[in-house]
């Protein structure tokens, strides 16, 4: 029977050895994280650091963040626009800890999110370059603007039949619906919702699936709207997914996005028509329809002004003719001092018919003079009146 020791004695020795070996030392590591479990209430996070050779895990060690460093996770998420979750590669500073009950752990003291941002930015840039090479995106050399087949499609003059891709029961869904339904001009909309997860690893694939459902009845929609809203700044990554970007870029119906905030533009935004928020996307659509409404109203006014003018002109013409006819009437002529000479109750237009001793009637404005002709001569060069 060998001499045995108590378990705690051995574990104590392990603990002592590790402590003395690693006391005061920290290490910067770059590793993939897995099995991430966050407890936001307690502000703890348990995870695993792993290293792979091909697909095989060759190194695997527990890691932890306690409440004193938990804010690193929040900062990481807001700076990189992605959820701190399994599958990420992070750069962090760790200390080596041993606990008699929980064993060996790497305690995370600091996360370097500049590294993560740099990596994301690089990925984004590489994706854009690849898509330009594949002619999915064209960048205007002068303006730097990006063009795709989708954002070059003309918008219908009025947008009413909307396919809405959004997360169920989300702020984005509520904000968008509230604004379009409550518009003060009374415009009507038919919004069909295609609900899916819009954040997380599978979001890009799920959104692309919804697009293909919509594509099957593309003629029933004026636009596709993708919104994601409210609060969460994290996990922007799915909108930089090359396959989703390609699906949007080639989509036959104009796509409007409202998925981000001021400072972020995803590649999906670049190939579609971007507004910052769900509310702004809804407002954009309402304004678009209002433009048409106003153009109709302007034509309306022009038409009736022109129709009025038409009538006025006709009235003026009529009045002119009336005046001219009036001016030529015998009454008007007599008023000016002319006279009408009559003989045998006929107006004389040819004075040759009047002989000496003839009886004539001279009609003036107010009087009629009866005369007998005593003498007749020619008027020579005329009397200057």
């Amino acid at each position: 029977m060998p001499v045995t020791q108590k378990l705690s004695e051995v574990v104590n020795e392990i603990e002592g050895t590790i402590r003395s070996r690693f006391l005061g030392r920290t290490f910067w590591i770059k590793a993939e994280i897995a099995d991430v479990k966050k407890y936001p209430d307690k502000r703890w996070c348990f995870l695993k650091f792993i290293e792979k050779s091909g697909s095989m895990v060759t190194t695997d060690i527990k890691g932890v963040l306690w409440s004193n460093t938990y804010s690193n996770i929040e900062n990481f998420e807001s700076a990189t626009q992605q959820t701190f979750s399994s599958g990420l590669e992070i750069t962090c500073n760790v200390g080596v800890r041993f606990h008699k009950r929980y064993g060996l752990t790497l305690e995370v003291l600091e996360i370097d999110y500049a590294y993560a941002i740099g990596k994301l930015e690089l990925e984004r840039k590489q994706t854009i370059e690849r898509l330009i090479k594949e002619k999915v995106i064209i960048q205007d050399a002068d303006t730097g603007q990006f063009y795709s087949r989708n954002n070059s499609l003309e918008l219908p003059v009025v947008i009413q039949r909307i396919a809405l891709i959004t997360a169920p029961d989300s702020d984005g869904q509520r904000d968008f619906q509230k604004v379009v339904r409550g518009n003060k001009y009374g415009y009507a909309f038919a919004v069909t919702e295609f609900l899916t997860r819009i954040q997380g690893d599978e979001a890009a694939g799920l959104i692309a699936e919804k697009l293909s459902v919509i594509a099957a009845s593309a003629e029933k929609f004026d636009v596709v709207v993708i919104v994601r809203g409210g609060g969460s700044d994290t996990d922007f990554k799915s909108f930089n997914d090359a396959d989703l970007v390609k699906a949007v870029a080639a989509f036959p119906v104009p796509v409007l996005t409202g998925i981000g905030h001021d400072r972020n533009t995803s590649i999906t935004d670049l190939v579609a028509r971007q507004n910052r928020t769900p509310t702004e996307t809804a407002t954009f659509i309402i304004d678009h329809n209002m433009n048409f409404d106003q153009e109709i109203e302007a034509l309306n006014q022009r038409f009736f002004r022109a129709a009025d003018n038409c009538l006025d002109r006709a009235k003026n013409d009529l009045e002119n003719y009336r005046q001219r006819v009036k001016n030529l009437s015998p009454a008007s002529i007599l008023k000016k001092g002319f006279a009408i000479v009559m003989m045998d109750d006929k107006i004389i237009t040819d004075p040759g018919k009047i002989g000496e001793n003839a009886t004539t009637k001279t009609i003036l404005k107010d009087e009629i003079i009866y005369s007998t002709v005593t003498k007749k001569t020619t008027n020579g060069n005329g009397i200057d009146l």
């Binding site: 009413q160 909309f189 038919a190 295609f194 034509l299 309306n300 129709a307 002109r313």
Partner: protein, 72 residues
Amino acid sequence: METGLTYNKAFAELQMLVRQIENEDIQLDTLADKVKEANELIKYCETKLRVIEEDVKRNLSPALSEGEGEVE
């Protein structure tokens, strides 16, 4: 009202009417008809902007059920 009318068509026709009447390109006899035509086009646009037609709603229903079926 003419069937198969769209916003684009209504807009184009209205524009044409305005041009005709502004250029005095119409007979006074037809003015009343033109006014009626313009009024109908305007009413078509204004109504369509504010009322979703039944056939649009009907058209959307299959897509709607599909859309609602995959809530996560």
